[in-house]
Symmetry: C2
Subunit: 233 residues, 2 copies
DNA sequence: GTGACAAATAAGTCTGACTTTTTCTTCTCG
DNA sequence: CGAGAAGAAAAAGTCAGACTTATTTGTCAC
């Protein structure tokens, strides 16, 4: 799914990135490039490349005579897929999953509305196929197969919205859905109501009914929020 | 606002990044690190660091024996603030502004609803102050002053939502709002109706009325969409 | 205390040599 | 003539060392 350890600098990142995002170095901590290079047993050039990447993610800031200082969490590029992965792999994974699910609940209904307007015939067909796949795997502990179709379904919706910002959230949604299946909630078969909603959503998009598509997606995302106990009292 | 040219590699990025995002090198184009280094008159080490950053943004991919190949637009990290700036500075700025405004229209209503639940007293005060500032600068060609308060207003809403993914979109919103003021639409005083909506929204948040806050924000964002002729027929 | 000057420090830069991976070419053998 | 193996070539990757530069800190005179 991701791209682990492309080259030496990549391996350094795979180690240092998660450490920083996990809070191993509190904000304001100062690292020295040379020490890091020694610690990871790589040359300074490799270490510098890694630091540059962390810097471009706003995880650290490199200043002369000072060193490489860790930035506060509030400045991180939390939309960077790599940062998202690192954080999801860390200790406060549940908090990440909540943030991202709230994000989904804002984006997906609007995306579905747009999809109902702009989806091509081919995309409608894919959508129906995914929904059927979900139905087919909705009973009898076929969670893996269900997940595949669920992820594909939401990807198609986001793509069909015609908005590239929405489309690029496909990976995030995939991460959230698969995270939910593998680690957290969902030990048994998926909620039949959710399955039905997906089938109906495919219908609404196919029929070009934006209002219904948006409403159905809201119901789907409300379900996702409830699973994580994110709820209005 | 941004961080221009931090070091030599930064200056290379400021030149190469916009070129790539502007489509100067079509997807699949192959660049050579050495040639780039020569062209920009920097050492290979500096050039390599720049390439690493572009790689982390998924703008290019570096492979042995092949070179640095430009990735298709669909793979770029379009949420990276730097990439957003580069693209907004380019030729298809209008298209970017539309994408981002649609994104706003999805995010901000939900954020406002959450803000109505979670805003602190201090945030409520800030919000009211911003709204008053908008009113004060709403007539007599005081667009600059209006913009400052408008941006601050939306930042507070996003922050007060308590969701970090929303909060981190503050810069994007600022970019969109200031772009609209400086370059595109808005040559005269802002729409009085929009000003009123902001005042009412501050009220709704202060009174802890999520439904009204969300609805008012939808009306605000509908206005923003209409300005850019993004409309459902 | 304030301002200027000097020293220390760590990032930044450059260069050159070497390694490794991947691709292309070519040669051989069935 | 085609397939597969051996070899060559190309470009990124890695490393080590010397040097530069900006920034901070400390010191000294005023």
């Amino acid at each position: 799914m991701s791209t682990p350890g492309r080259g030496l600098h990549g391996r350094v990142l795979d180690s240092l990135g998660p450490a920083i995002t996990a809070g191993a170095y509190p904000p304001g901590s100062v690292l020295r490039t040379d020490e890091l290079a020694q610690h990871f047993e790589v040359s300074r050039s490799v270490m510098r490349e890694a630091v540059r990447v962390l810097e471009s993610m706003h995880l650290v800031e490199s200043r002369r005579r000072v060193g490489v200082t860790v930035r506060p969490e509030s400045e991180w590029n939390v939309y960077d897929p790599q940062v998202i992965r690192w954080r999801l792999a860390g200790a406060d994974r549940p908090r990440q999953l909540r943030s991202l699910t709230v994000l989904r609940s804002a984006i997906e209904p609007v995306a579905a509305g747009l999809a109902a307007r702009h989806a091509t015939a081919e995309q409608c067909a894919e959508l129906t196929e995914c929904a059927l796949g979900m139905v087919a795997h909705s009973r009898g502990h076929q969670l893996a197969g269900y997940l595949v179709h669920d992820v594909a379904f939401h990807r198609v919706i986001l793509d069909a919205s015609g908005n590239e910002m929405f489309a690029r959230l496909g990976d995030v949604v995939a991460e959230v859905l698969s995270g939910r299946t593998h680690h957290d909630v969902m030990f048994e078969d998926p909620d039949p109501a959710a399955v039905t909603l997906h089938v109906q959503l495919a219908e609404a998009v196919r029929e070009g009914d934006p209002v219904r598509a948006e409403q159905l997606t809201r119901e789907i995302t409300v379900g996702a929020l409830q699973e994580l106990d994110i709820l209005a009292p």
